[in-house]
């Protein structure tokens, strides 16, 4: 290669601070203190909210104290419910991850470290608000009391799989629970959620929509389509960017997070941009409540960036130790969402180590017992789980002639 000129242009390729073998390095981040961020009135014009894109809304400190104006003042019972749903989600993830390793299914995705986002938001929304999730929000279904066994049937593609064996594991759907069918194509659900919210407003309904995507998928055009339409039509929708810092092996800088925040995407669209500690159950609950109230008052959409850390692998198909320091998750300064809520509950005298141990065991036992039931029905690959005929159904409302003909072709 010829030598470069001294004034030659240079191409910048973002790289994370630490790779395998390096010490985890989060020194680049600075976080405001818990309780320091003011809580604006819900009807504050978006133009006055720009600073929120660059701060971080925090309620819980690391000792478990709830501080400042964003404290949602929830009943202890609600906090315990939230904690139990998070424990259940974690136990579920743990078992299904191992089930994949045991060959009982083809694929699984955990939400380890991100449980507060799904669970707190599910509790902060109304039960009939419509959710357009990505693939790591199983906590919503669990917090809406969707039967765990149905989720397992789906993951095992067995005879009782509500999706009839058509979908990759974890791509759940439940209309009665306001949980939209998950797509494997990233960010497609975001503008769909905006459309649903527009339809709700058009119809004079009271329900709002909420949608989730990862920080990596904010690079998709669909996200920007969603932001434009949501802002233009003031759609009653909450757009949640779950910044878990990793898109498979690509750190958030590859999605454009090196020089700005993902919440800041909202500034250009004139949308309130709230940036919140995604591992802080109380803060997540509080910002969701704020955004939901705003949407319900016809004041339009809110963009929320949940700053978190993907503590597990992307899926069962990757080994994070090959692209980031193995101990990076444990070094994440904002801790673990389950531990933090537990510490808070104990600090206010509403929980104990013993209660926690029992609750954890109950969650594990519930999942174990449910798992045994699901496995009795069948795991992936069991013969006869689905009829060949079922493959041709639901492509259209009615089976057209060409599909009928194909279904009647002799099976080989």
């Amino acid at each position: 290669m010829s030598s470069r000129k001294s004034n030659a242009l240079d191409l910048h390729i973002p790289a994370p601070r630490a790779r395998p073998g390096d010490k985890p390095d989060f020194s680049g981040w600075s976080f405001p203190e818990p309780g320091d961020t003011p809580r604006p009135d819900v009807d504050t014009p978006a133009v006055e909210l720009r600073d929120y894109a660059y701060g971080l809304i925090r309620v819980l400190d690391m000792e478990g104290n709830a501080l400042g104006p964003w404290t949602p003042h929830l009943q202890p019972e609600t906090l315990r419910r939230g904690l139990k749903y998070m424990l259940l989600t974690r136990a579920f993830d743990d078992r299904m991850y191992r089930a994949q390793r045991q060959g009982k299914t083809s694929f699984y995705m955990q939400s380890f470290g991100e449980e507060a986002i799904s669970v707190a938001q599910a509790l902060a929304l109304n039960p009939d608000d419509m959710c357009f999730p990505s693939y790591r929000q199983q906590g919503i279904l669990i917090a809406r009391d969707y039967p765990l066994i149905e989720m397992m049937h789906q993951i095992y593609s067995n005879a009782r799989d509500p999706m009839k064996g058509r979908q990759l594991p974890v791509m759940y759907s439940s209309k009665k629970d306001g949980f939209f069918t998950i797509s494997g194509n990233l960010a497609t659900q975001v503008p769909q959620a905006v459309g649903w919210a527009m339809a709700s407003a058009y119809s004079g309904d009271l329900r709002i929509a909420s949608t989730w995507l990862g920080e990596g998928s904010t690079a998709e055009g669909d996200f920007h389509a969603a932001m434009t339409f949501a802002a233009v039509y003031k759609a009653p929708v909450i757009i949640n960017v779950v910044n878990n810092q990793w898109a498979i092996s690509s750190f958030q800088g590859i999605a454009g997070g090196e020089n700005t925040t993902f919440a800041a995407r909202g500034v250009g669209y004139g949308m309130p941009p709230l940036r919140v500690d995604g591992n802080d159950f109380l803060a997540v609950y509080a910002v969701t409540q704020w955004a939901a109230e705003r949407a319900r008052s016809n004041m339009g959409p809110t963009l929320i960036e949940h700053f978190s850390y993907r503590a597990g692998p992307h899926s069962t198909s990757d080994d994070p130790a090959r692209y980031r320091p193995a101990e990076e998750g444990r070094a994440w300064p904002l801790g673990d969402p389950v531990e933090r809520l537990k510490t808070h509950l104990i600090s206010i005298g509403e929980w104990s180590e013993e209660q926690h141990r029992v609750a954890q065991e109950e969650a594990v036992e519930t999942v174990r017992a449910t798992g045994r039931e699901a496995e009795k029905v069948g795991v992936l690959g069991a013969d006869g789980a689905h009829t060949r005929q079922s493959m041709f159904e639901d492509v259209y409302k009615d089976v057209p002639w060409h599909l009928r003909q194909q279904s009647e072709e002799e099976a080989v």
């Binding site: 419509m130 357009f132 509500p162 999706m163 009839k164 058509r166 979908q167 791509m171 759907s173 439940s174 209309k175 939209f180 069918t181 797509s183 194509n185 497609t188 975001v190 503008p191 769909q192 959620a193 905006v194 459309g195 649903w196 919210a197 527009m198 339809a199 709700s200 058009y202 119809s203 929509a209 055009g221 669909d222 920007h224 389509a225 969603a226 434009t228 339409f229 233009v232 159904e393 639901d394 492509v395 259209y396 409302k397 057209p400 002639w401 060409h402």
Partner: protein, 337 residues
């Protein structure tokens, strides 16, 4: 009955459905106040208000995706993609999402949306205002694809599309929006008012999806066509002196296989005409279907008359556009076979 152009008939279909069903709404680029660049949505905003007929940002992905969300909610959105050539940013939403939501959710969610888009050339629109992308839709499981050729069919088919519970791609042959252009450039274009299919009822009626129309009966050769090319095929039949049967397919998917088989079995000869590029075009599917279903009736190899496998050339538009002489040449070839 009134005499309508295809534009007026499409407008009447939207008007009829918006009147009947508050769940029907329409939007797209320039669709609202202005009434669309081709005026298909003219006066609808004034009549039904801005919430039911409005302008959309220039983002086809967003237009398609929001319509999916609305359809999932329970509305029946009709969106306009200003030119079929602009649909590619929406393609993922149409192919990976709209088409598959019923299937992937095991009938939990459905997407009753209609995607209107003017297609085809002959208007000196260059590469980005002339394409015929029908095969990109007929190849997709879960989509229906419809192409009307006359004002009467346009209204009846659009109403069927709007009432259909699955996503329908509705391709409008813009070359015949204002008259049944038949490819004879040396003669003045007739207005729709002189064509019997411009007699359009003011109210509600439907033409079922999946049913072809025999627009000319004949015994010697079957011409399979749709959209603008139906009129070109009729002109070719007239000029050729060959007793051709011309089928207007109207719906490309699901296609009316019975009508195709009946006609080709009778004539034993088949010419397929479309404006889209040839390779892997919809004509390839038609050719395969005829071969599979009518092989022992065929007297000659099937012929295809299509656009060439090039981008749509601006200055050479009339070299590209399948004209009656090209169709006649193919007809003579099958007659010799």
């Amino acid at each position: 009955m009134a005499t309508m152009t295809m534009i007026q008939a499409l407008n009447s279909a939207l008007d009829t459905m918006m009147e009947r069903d508050p769940k029907v709404l329409t939007y797209g680029e320039d669709v609202g106040y202005f009434g669309g660049v081709f005026k298909v949505t003219e006066h609808l905003q004034q009549k039904y208000g801005p919430r039911r007929c409005f302008d959309a940002p220039i983002n086809e992905c967003g237009i398609a995706a929001t319509a999916i969300g609305m359809a999932v909610y329970g509305l029946r959105p009709v969106i306009e993609i200003q030119f079929a050539d602009y649909m590619y940013p929406a393609y993922d939403q149409l192919v990976s999402e709209a088409a598959r939501i019923r299937y992937r959710s095991a009938n939990d969610y459905t997407v009753p949306m209609t995607v209107r888009m003017p297609y085809g050339g002959g208007i000196f629109g260059g590469q980005t205002h002339s394409q015929s992308p029908e095969a990109l839709f007929t190849h997709v499981a879960g989509l229906k694809t419809v192409v009307p050729a006359t004002p009467y069919d346009a209204k009846g088919l659009l109403i069927s599309a709007i009432e259909d519970d699955d996503p329908v791609i509705f391709l409008e042959p813009k070359r015949v929006y204002n008259g049944p252009f038949d490819g004879r450039r040396d003669r003045p274009v007739q207005p729709w008012s002189k064509h019997p299919a411009s007699e359009v009822p003011e109210g509600y009626y439907k033409i079922p999806l999946g049913k072809a129309n025999i627009v000319r009966e004949g015994n010697d050769v079957t011409i399979l066509s749709y959209g603008t090319m139906v009129h070109v095929a009729l002109a070719a039949a007239e000029d050729s002196g060959i007793d051709a049967e011309v089928l207007d397919l109207r719906t490309l998917l699901p296609v009316d296989i019975d009508a195709i088989v009946a006609s080709v079995s009778k004539t034993g000869r088949c010419v397929i005409v479309h404006e889209a590029t040839r390779t892997s075009g919809y004509g390839a599917e038609l050719s395969a279907l005829v071969q599979e279903h009518c092989f022992y009736h065929l007297e000659a190899p099937i012929q295809r008359v299509t656009g060439y496998d090039t981008p749509y050339p601006h200055a050479l538009e009339w070299e590209y556009f399948p004209t009656p002489p090209r169709i006649i040449k193919a007809m003579r070839r099958v007659m010799e076979g």
